[in-house]
Symmetry: C2
């Protein structure tokens, strides 16, 4: 078992342990006074893990109810959020109860935002079951829903009471979901750790499972360090957006259904690094190393979009700060920085 403590505005632990989901309630009861739990999950995860989580909670004599959303990014919307609110209301969930997110990033973001806002906030617990959620979205307290005009445009900072991470759950994932998560995993190597990058680069999709526990720990530790320095996303935390400004625009272009988040981030990292290398903003070879690594995880595909086509979509991206935009550049493997550009320079840079 590995325990990583996050010293955010509220201190909490991320527990990484194979099989922990079966006795999750033992960890849960140590961090909340709640006796009633509303589990938010999706229609893929529910048949696999809901009964296991429920059994553990019932064993501790807790009351449990559940709400199952359709899987996929389109559920991260105000209509489904309202369904969640109505579910919480119908089940008489009060301020002293607790919401559990059981699933991937969509479930975590949606349930987290509901936890931040229902009755102006109640306890919240993450049980991430996808690689992407385990290495990235379940840690750090960012919650959100999408608007028709863009991703994550509405949200709140809501730190969980605990993150219960069971790498065994990744074994039930289809290859697509592993590929998706590896996009963010490669990002962590790129922005902060050549060592992590080399571990990823010396494996492939067929044998990365052997070292996933270690990889998850390294990613979470990097994110923890960044979040502790900048919980509310005003500086250092922007590094986590490497590949995301263009990535979000790619996802948006395909209406959040045509391309997964990890694939879009991979495409965004490649595109921005290609331009940065041309502009002399990174060491020669950085782009090749990145592309070669991404190829091992089936993460190099044409997005069917040119940088110029993405520029317009980017301009409404939430990361845009007035007439400037913050771009993340990796000058080398493991070395990243925020570059503040005027919108005009950004458009020139992309073209």
């Amino acid at each position: 078992m590995k325990r990583i403590t996050v010293n955010a505005s509220e201190k909490y632990d991320i527990i990484i342990k194979n099989g922990i989901i079966s006795n999750c309630a033992e960890y849960i009861k140590a961090v909340t006074d709640a006796e009633k739990f509303a589990v938010i999950t999706d229609d893929i995860v529910a048949p696999l893990y809901y009964d296991i989580v429920e059994k553990s909670l019932l064993n501790e004599n807790f009351e449990v109810c559940r709400y199952v959303i359709p899987h996929g990014e389109p559920s991260k919307c105000s209509a489904i959020l309202n369904n969640v609110y109505n579910f919480l209301s119908e089940n008489c969930i009060t301020r002293s109860d607790c919401i559990i997110a059981l699933g991937g990033g969509v479930v975590g973001d949606l349930a987290g935002f509901a936890s931040a806002t229902y009755l102006r906030g109640l306890d919240f617990i993450q049980i991430p079951t996808t690689l992407l959620a385990q290495v990235d979205s379940s840690v750090g307290g960012k919650t959100a829903i999408d608007l028709p005009s863009g991703k994550n445009l509405v949200g709140a900072f809501k730190q969980p009471k605990i993150v219960i991470c069971d790498p065994d759950t990744l074994k039930t994932l289809s290859e697509d979901f592993i590929v998706d998560g590896m996009g963010e995993v490669v990002k962590y190597g790129m922005i902060k750790s050549e060592e992590l990058f080399n571990i990823i680069d010396s494996h492939t999709l067929s044998n990365i499972h052997d070292v996933l526990d270690d990889v998850i720990c390294r990613c979470v530790s990097i994110k923890r360090d960044i979040v502790e320095q900048d919980e509310f996303d005003k500086g250092e935390r922007m590094l986590l957006n490497f590949g995301h400004t263009l990535g979000h625009s790619i996802e948006k272009h395909y209406n959040y259904t045509g391309i997964s988040h990890g694939r879009a981030v991979a495409a965004g990292m490649l595109m921005i690094t290609e331009i940065a290398e041309k502009d002399g903003m990174c060491y020669d070879g950085t782009l090749n190393k990145l592309r070669s690594c991404l190829e091992k995880y089936k993460l190099v595909n044409s997005t069917g979009l040119t940088p110029a086509e993405l520029a317009k979509a980017c301009l409404n991206d939430k990361k845009r700060n007035s007439d400037h935009i913050n771009i993340i550049i990796c000058s080398d493997i493991g070395e990243s920085k925020v570059v503040k550009m005027s919108i005009n320079d950004f458009l020139v840079f992309l073209s």
Copy 2:
């Protein structure tokens, strides 16, 4: 000019001054770096005050856009909130811009919640134009929308950067709105200040205008003291709910359109004090003093509902804490306390 400073998680001032709305931007520029302002207002307030606010902002070379919602409680819903989000998105509002709530409690609660959640939070300023908003809802950082199942069920704590309170705006209010606000004003006297109660009681609806500046200051100071002690509503702040548990249920019964908030709170205060006096929980005469004072402000009317009829609606009230409910009792004018009751005792108490 009176300046009341609130030492909440973010420190801010409430400025009370006749005519201040005409040069509001002078105060605004001192508290935010924003250069672009989205003004949220309603269709009653916009024709009266929007141009004045806009002119002041333009004088300081700020950019301004506005969104006008229909007036009244039904606008405090997720559908109108989504319209506000879309407006913010279409107008390219960024994290470094600022939202201004210009209007009464509905505008303040809705715009405040949008400010707390759009892009995970941006600067927010209150310009309350009703008595109810000036004495109560604009101060303290509670923001919310209603759900079909209840009032203020979804929300966030979001402290404004400044509250700009112009008592002159109250002169354009119809008597109904003054009556509405007086419900909360009487509440402040009841829970914390016999002196304030006596000022109210020695006036009537026809001459209360003469002392409204002083009355607003006293109410805001009481609320400030309470909020500073308990920003996140876990103890002392519950006193502000005197009359509200039953009041909210009355509003809900009439679908938030049949009776105004202040009238519902007045009815709630009377009902709970009547029951408390019967139970020997307050000094003899408290009920009569309260009723006599409320009568001077046309706040004594039959709600058409018995306490027992309200009990069921109360049970889904957000103030219910698991199997207990917190009731506020005034044992004397200016003396209040929180009484924690089991749901069963509460039902017996009401019947």
